[in-house]
């Protein structure tokens, strides 16, 4: 899809987004609305993520954080507004007259190429062993040679500390191990944007630190842009450059972790942090 900077710039100006910089952001939410029936989950949401940035989304349950990731992964449809990724509309296509209409499956698949996601419940495929969970999509979606995909999968399993589990079934692994495989599986698709949806919430407490350390390593050693929904405030502090505080489908406050955690401007942020820290 062709990038047309001019109309984008106009939209950005019209939105009056204070986060807009001179560099075109990798992800831009432009007045995004998500409704389920009468219930408004996201209310004209505007925010941007720069390339390579690690952003943590915090806020009370039901504030719409996970919905943002699910919209980006095209698991849900936007009710209104547009999500821009790398200058192209994520879930819309341009009509000849320049207006936008909802994308079909083919266009959605083109959009998904850049994005990977790790889920709270891991969602490994139980009908495939660990190695195949990781190679399945590179071989069948990216068209990679099987040998190459397997070599890469073994590297990734090494990275996540599970090189001994190549032939295990997901059901034979602990939660923490399954989540590591899920991370390797997402990385195998070489995403530009990695979405992490409460990836430690389903883990036993003693397994959380290992997974967070791994994600911290990935954040530091790659240029993958990360959007992370978490209740682990330490992780938000250590890994992300930007924290967005959500409440009732809107960004209440955004800033560096130091700013948000030590000197929040909004009463709502203070209340939330007092409750979780």
């Amino acid at each position: 899809m062709a990038t047309e900077p001019a109309p984008l710039k106009k939209i950005a100006d019209a939105a009056g987004d204070p986060l807009v910089t001179d560099v075109e952001p990798l992800v831009r939410f432009d007045k995004v609305v998500k409704r389920y029936g009468d219930h408004v989950v996201l209310d004209e949401l505007d925010f941007t993520v720069r390339r390579g940035e690690h952003v943590t989304l915090i806020g009370p349950s039901g504030s719409g954080k996970t919905t943002i990731l699910r919209l980006l992964m095209t698991l849900e449809k936007v009710s209104d507004g547009v999500i821009w990724v790398d200058g192209s509309p994520l879930s819309h296509v341009r009509r000849p007259d320049g207006s936008l209409k909802p994308a079909g499956e083919k266009e959605l698949r083109a959009s998904r190429k850049k994005i990977g996601m790790v889920f709270q419940q891991f969602n490994l495929f139980p009908n495939m062993k660990v190695l195949q969970n990781i190679t399945e999509a590179p071989v069948n979606v990216l068209g990679m040679e099987r040998e190459e995909a397997e070599a890469r999968a073994r590297e990734l399993l090494d990275l996540v500390g599970l090189s001994g589990k190549v032939d295990a079934h997901p059901s034979q692994l602990s939660g923490g191990q399954q989540q590591r495989v899920a991370i390797a599986r997402a990385l195998a698709m070489r995403p530009e944007i990695l979405l992490l949806d409460e990836v430690t919430s389903a883990l036993d407490p003693e397994l959380v630190a290992g997974v967070l350390d791994l994600l911290g390593d990935i954040a530091r050693s790659t240029d993958i842009t990360m959007l992370c929904v978490t209740h682990e405030m330490n992780f938000a502090r250590d890994v992300s450059e930007k924290v967005l505080m959500f409440d009732a489908g809107r960004v209440v406050e955004s800033g560096s972790p130091e700013k948000i955690f030590t000197d929040p401007e909004h009463e709502r942020t203070r209340e939330f942090l007092n409750a979780v820290l």
Binding site: L75, I115, F119, Q121, E136, A137, N140, A186
Partner: protein, 244 residues
């Protein structure tokens, strides 16, 4: 009694041929039914209203009309309408396939729907095509859930094959019935029928248990040796949905 068995021995080639017809009707009928189960069951989940509608109509029609009458239609009415005449065995295979395919499609639809949505979402996140998602992720998991219900249908189909008698298909039932009428040994004849159909049905159950075991093992689920001999079917099977 001895009269019955001596006649049975005399008629053994016909009885053997009859058994072979019964087995053919069961195997070919269930293969056609399996094919239709998947075609109709997957069509029922289509995004296109037309495809869903056609599937629904076919399923309701063949499920809602009697198997007897379908057999009679194929054997007696179709030749008058079209001029084509199917052999009795082929009539049986087509009728069993259509009728049980209609029931089987509901099993496929239910099993596909029972695979956790999270599995679908994980496949979307890996950018798989809808076809790839279905073939590599959803169906292998749904398959395990289908097997017990398919076993039930398979045995029911086997037990319906004596209906072939009605269209003179020389199946096992027909040949034994013939010997009964020759000898007048009603009790023995019907006892033999009960026993043989039971043995055939139990053999099918064991075969399907092997299939279920291997399907479960592919999902990394535990299967004990005793699961091979169990006769219970169509119970709820738990698969590692979110794999926790």
């Amino acid at each position: 009694m001895s009269d019955f068995f001596s006649t049975l021995l005399d008629e053994l080639p016909q009885v053997g041929a009859g058994l072979w017809v019964t087995i053919q009707a069961t195997v070919l009928g269930s293969l056609l039914a399996l094919l239709l189960s998947f075609a109709l069951g997957l069509a029922a989940g289509s995004r296109l209203l037309l495809v869903r509608g056609v599937s629904r109509t076919v399923v309701e029609f063949f499920r809602g009309t009697s198997l007897y009458i379908q057999l009679f239609w194929l054997y007696y009415a179709m030749p008058q309408l079209t001029g084509y005449e199917l052999t009795p065995l082929l009539c049986g295979v087509v009728a069993f396939g259509l009728n049980y395919g209609a029931y089987g499609s509901e099993i496929v639809r239910g099993a596909v729907n029972s695979v956790p949505r999270a599995q679908y979402e994980a496949a979307v996140a890996l950018n798989m095509t809808p076809f790839h998602r279905m073939r590599r992720v959803i169906l292998p998991q749904a398959w395990v859930q289908m097997i017990p219900s398919f076993t039930n249908l398979l045995i029911q189909l086997l037990k319906c094959t004596p209906l072939l008698w009605l269209i003179s298909a020389a199946d096992f039932m027909t040949t034994v019935e013939h010997i009964r009428s020759l000898t007048g040994e009603t009790l023995t004849a019907y006892l033999l029928l009960l026993a043989v159909y039971f043995v055939l049905a139990y053999a099918l159950t064991l075969l399907m248990n092997v299939l279920e075991r291997s399907a479960k093992r592919r999902l990394g689920l535990h299967t004990g040796a005793r699961s091979l001999l169990k006769t219970r079917t169509a119970d709820a099977v738990t698969t590692a949905g979110g794999a926790r």
